[in-house]
């Protein structure tokens, strides 16, 4: 069984954005951690993952239709 998420990768993470990210198909019950691994994003760059505007941890389980964003650490001034 698959489902679809709306995936947004920001700044340096854009290079990991898969084709059709806005309707990205994943397996039912997939965790954020598995998603991050599947996209090839180093875990150190995935400190800020949010679903539907709320920060979540890597163990969170994705649901159909979730709006998922990953923002890398940004430190410049």
């Amino acid at each position: 069984m698959t489902m679809t998420i709306d995936l947004r990768l920001f700044a340096t993470l854009q290079q990991f954005e898969p084709p059709s990210a806005r309707a990205y198909q994943i397996k039912m019950g997939m965790s954020v951690r598995t998603l991050v691994e599947q996209l090839g994003i180093p875990e150190t760059k995935a400190k800020l993952v949010f679903i539907n505007g709320i920060k979540v941890d890597l163990e969170s389980i994705l649901k159909d239709g979730d709006r998922v964003g990953i923002f890398p650490p940004v430190g410049g001034g």
């Binding site: 800020l48 964003g69 923002f71 890398p72 650490p73 940004v74 001034g77």
Partner: protein, 287 residues
């Protein structure tokens, strides 16, 4: 001289002027503020505060009305913001807070300008390369608004000096350029019991967060601090652009004003993320 006679002088020096909202306001020119200060032995800031308290508006603050009331302007004039880091963000933040009329500014940086700063750092120019960033900031602040009090520290902030740098500050403004130092400032601001507005940029991206002493703060954004935590972020590959820097600095100043005036802040425990590559603005609930 007693305050009543100063008020008489203010009233004598003020003139009525219709404003764009068609309301008549009693306004006072810069030169009168300076004259009255000199004649009474008060500072210009004291004179401006006294004027505003009697609904006489120094002309330099007229366009802060009505989004800021005269009482709000007094609140800003009687506040001190400590701006830590005078690079891209810090330059624009200093400029904007000085123009808004935040009455006392502490500016902190241990660096001098170099050519790589010219693409975004407001106070840098071809004529002041190798000048200290604090000297340029002080000069600029006093050129814009010589009534303001300025304290400059030509030192890099660290765990040893940070408490001293924040003395008397009502708010810390984090314009630093590395993640480790941001945690140092956050800890000190919490210990001083003052809020902090933190911002960071990289390429077309930026973020802003307000942190009160009881809030979890930066750990929610960067993960826990420590020797193994990254010190730099996406800026090492994406660089820093003037257009992103000035925008994010403006957002940071908006938070500073709201906090100093005790208005509601939307960015407490909510990180504003910005990506100008597609004009994303989104508030992320951190807790």
């Amino acid at each position: 001289m007693n305050p009543n006679s100063i008020i008489d002088m203010l009233m004598a020096g003020a003139r009525n002027q219709q404003q764009p909202d068609r309301r008549d306001r009693s306004v006072l020119a810069l030169q009168y503020c300076a004259d009255i200060a000199q004649r009474t032995g008060r500072t210009r800031k004291e004179i401006e505060v006294l004027a505003l308290e009697h609904d006489i508006i120094p002309e330099r603050y007229l366009r802060n009305l009505n989004i800021l009331s005269p009482a709000d302007q007094v609140g800003l004039l009687q506040s001190r913001a400590c701006i830590v880091g005078l690079g891209g963000l810090g330059g624009y933040v200093t400029e904007t807070l000085a123009r808004l009329g935040v009455g006392a500014l502490t500016v902190v940086d241990g660096d001098c300008f170099d050519e790589t700063n010219l693409n975004r750092q407001l106070f840098s120019s071809e004529h002041n390369l190798s000048q200290t960033k604090t000297a340029a900031a002080v000069e600029r602040i006093l050129t814009i608004n010589s009534a303001l009090y300025v304290q400059d520290y030509n030192e890099l902030m660290d765990t040893e000096n940070v408490a001293r740098l924040l003395e008397q500050a009502d708010i810390a403004v984090d314009c630093l350029d590395n993640i480790h130092s941001r945690f140092v400032l956050q800890k000190a601001a919490k210990e001083a019991g003052i809020p902090m507005v933190s911002a960071a940029v990289a390429g077309f991206s930026g973020q802003v967060l307000t942190i009160f002493p009881e809030d979890p703060g930066l750990e929610q954004v960067y993960g826990p601090p420590g020797p193994h935590a990254a010190d730099k972020g996406a800026e090492t590959t994406l660089g820093n652009l003037g257009c992103t820097v000035s925008l994010v600095a403006s957002l940071q100043c908006t938070e500073v004003v709201k906090i100093l005036l005790k208005k509601d802040s939307d960015l407490r425990n909510q990180l504003l993320i910005i990506d100008l590559s597609d004009y994303t603005f989104e508030k992320i609930h951190l807790i």
